[in-house]
Symmetry: C2
Subunit: 456 residues, 2 copies
Amino acid sequence: MRIVIIGGGAGGLSTASNIRKYDEKSEITVITRDKYIAYSPCAIPYVLCGEVDSFKEIIMHQPEDYLERKISVITQAEVYEVSSENNTVEYRFLNQNSKNSEGYGETLSYDYLVLATGGSPFIPPVEGSDLDGVFKIRTIKDGFKIKEWAEKSQKAIVVGAGLIGLEIAYGLKNMGLEVTVTEMLPQIVPRNLDPAMASIVQEYIENKGINVILGHPVEKITGDKKVTGAIFGEEELKADMVILATGIRPEIKLAQIPGIEIGRWAILVNEKMQTSIPNIYAVGDCVEVIDAITGHNTLSPLGSTAVRQGKIAAKNIAGVEAKFNPVINSMVSKIGDLEFGSVGLTKTGALQNGIKAISGKSRALTKARYYPGAKRIDVKMIINLKGRIIGCQIIAEERVAERVDTMSLAIAKGISCSELANMEFSYAPPVSMVIDPIILAAEDACIKLKRFNKSK
Amino acid sequence: MRIVIIGGGAGGLSTASNIRKYDEKSEITVITRDKYIAYSPCAIPYVLCGEVDSFKEIIMHQPEDYLERKISVITQAEVYEVSSENNTVEYRFLNQNSKNSEGYGETLSYDYLVLATGGSPFIPPVEGSDLDGVFKIRTIKDGFKIKEWAEKSQKAIVVGAGLIGLEIAYGLKNMGLEVTVTEMLPQIVPRNLDPAMASIVQEYIENKGINVILGHPVEKITGDKKVTGAIFGEEELKADMVILATGIRPEIKLAQIPGIEIGRWAILVNEKMQTSIPNIYAVGDCVEVIDAITGHNTLSPLGSTAVRQGKIAAKNIAGVEAKFNPVINSMVSKIGDLEFGSVGLTKTGALQNGIKAISGKSRALTKARYYPGAKRIDVKMIINLKGRIIGCQIIAEERVAERVDTMSLAIAKGISCSELANMEFSYAPPVSMVIDPIILAAEDACIKLKRFNKSK
């Protein structure tokens, strides 16, 4: 069996490695535009901020490592045509110096094709976005360029205050630059945090010396050949560099062939990760997924999603039944010492989806009160009017990620706030409070629900 | 309504405070033998090891703080008789200097009585257990005495390698003593960890310079008036002090009145925490609970259990319906930098209960591989032959407690290894791996189960 995988990111390589687990014989070929593979794009900000030593560290494998498992990886090559009739793909090398480069046209036949083409950075349609010193952020190459430019810069503007924007801003700040993050919505991290929770993170990054401008989209990037600043509302901010962290759009050019259904944003797949052409699968940022809570299609452009999807696609290709579940949007980020995470819907997100929601909150500590080094922890829990937990946001300087995972399990299993309030959790003074902050938030949600029901 | 609570530990005070939340008017009286209330006995070892500055720190409230909430706390007093016919208790002050002390006999009437009498340390029936320098460990007073004696000692033996034994051993080691922990079973932490997992903890404490002797009960404590050592098997170990960390037995003397049913070890209660006399409740170490997995009665002598039981008893007394769920034995401990935790049954425990079990394991990292400071993490997951998760043990130098809580939820909700293997968890390089170690252990358990089913 010949399997061709287009894309060498988390989704593509996870598919390749997992097929090999179940199937020792098939020919597996991965084709990627990138020179570097098997690196963690999520780690780029941590290289900038100095927490990880160098970009080299975050590259976990070389193409040769895959060859050992009989997975051939063709780098710096671009698939320019897929024929689902002939079951072939055609590709060419991007780089003239590349060893096999003979201009156009190599052809590969496949029994199964996997589209793992990822996403491309969305570039806001404003004047000046092509100036020198304006960067997008997606690949490790983008990381190299940003670092190099930042080393000779004083002031940076990061457009977009989502996770990546904030992480990059903190990275640049730690490199010694004066940094402003801007966001067109009236709060930071709008996708994952409700306003009051977002302002805790905002306060933290402002205390780290990062400026935050909310409620203004970038209107123009100024400069002649090289960027000199950007305009937000009435104001022009001066800068030597501008990073556009304005989101990722699914890369679906290659999927636009007869027979493959495209949804609102991306490729449509069934729970096996199969497109509407049975021997073509798709995984990662280029597919739509189902939101477990709303039931609607959505995007989940996360490395962890891509890895799980790759596993599911691989199993099905290898003949082992497996299903990809609807997503619950479990995420976490760390900026400096502050961890913040979220799963399910925010309250804003619930309302936008027409779901009536109530929230419970707690502000507590990560250890027993008397234990040195206990950190403040904030929890916001969202429930629907039946008491079922549909979202949770957690912020603290330690021990957030695993609590998000506990809540992920709670939300995935449809647990109610009263069930959670009665849960038995572990306790020891150096690592927890006798009643966990998420239990306290669940109790608060139960009280609010009772009050709501009484007031009806 | 008059409510009398016997016992000022976690169970008694949690009951008192929670009744007040739902009921502003009732008279609430707590009677305790202790001089100090509202302290965390779990924290005593952390004072010894110097992580918490002083015993004063771990006392969270004074009787006056309770008076503000109209809860009267009578300290250093002992209830010596309960009359369930007259609905009265009789108590006397233990300390002649105590202000109300007029010898015998104060009487209190109650509408509801709560027995929160806790447990007493089990003293092994060996010669020498009453020598000077031999200590039990239960109350803060025991902590004072141990600390004082340790300050003038060189060598200590801790009998019993359960949680408290190990924590105390580490505390004494940090005070500068030469410390040996002994255990009659062939492994440390036998209640909560399987042998291979226990040996990870053992290696850690041995590296910290603590000696461990396994497979020998204490046979005799030697010395004339003052302890000089103890005998284990053939060997006599010299020591200036011996700590008996040999477990807690439920304190049920007061419950031995007509009409109150006692189980194998402790007071029997229903899911409301009500004894067989309807207006007498019982909470904490003096009651039996149901094990969620085996369905059998068991003991759960944990502060966190007592607190949750107090809440349930309080609600029911105040007329708010609430049920105490069967326990899953969720626990965590921290010794030095090592956290270890467990929930559900160990594999040994499963076999002892006649449950056929299979286990999955993972050894992974707490952060992305390239992220500085990533720690090794070991996970062992126990499943029954239907694939349902019935236990989990986790050890690492960070981020264990919350993972135990995730597993607590998984076990309480009856989740299978394959459901867990497909779970969506959060991911960011500084705080997690893209596939969480507990997912890896669940995957391994699924593989082992498949293999087992094939081999049948």
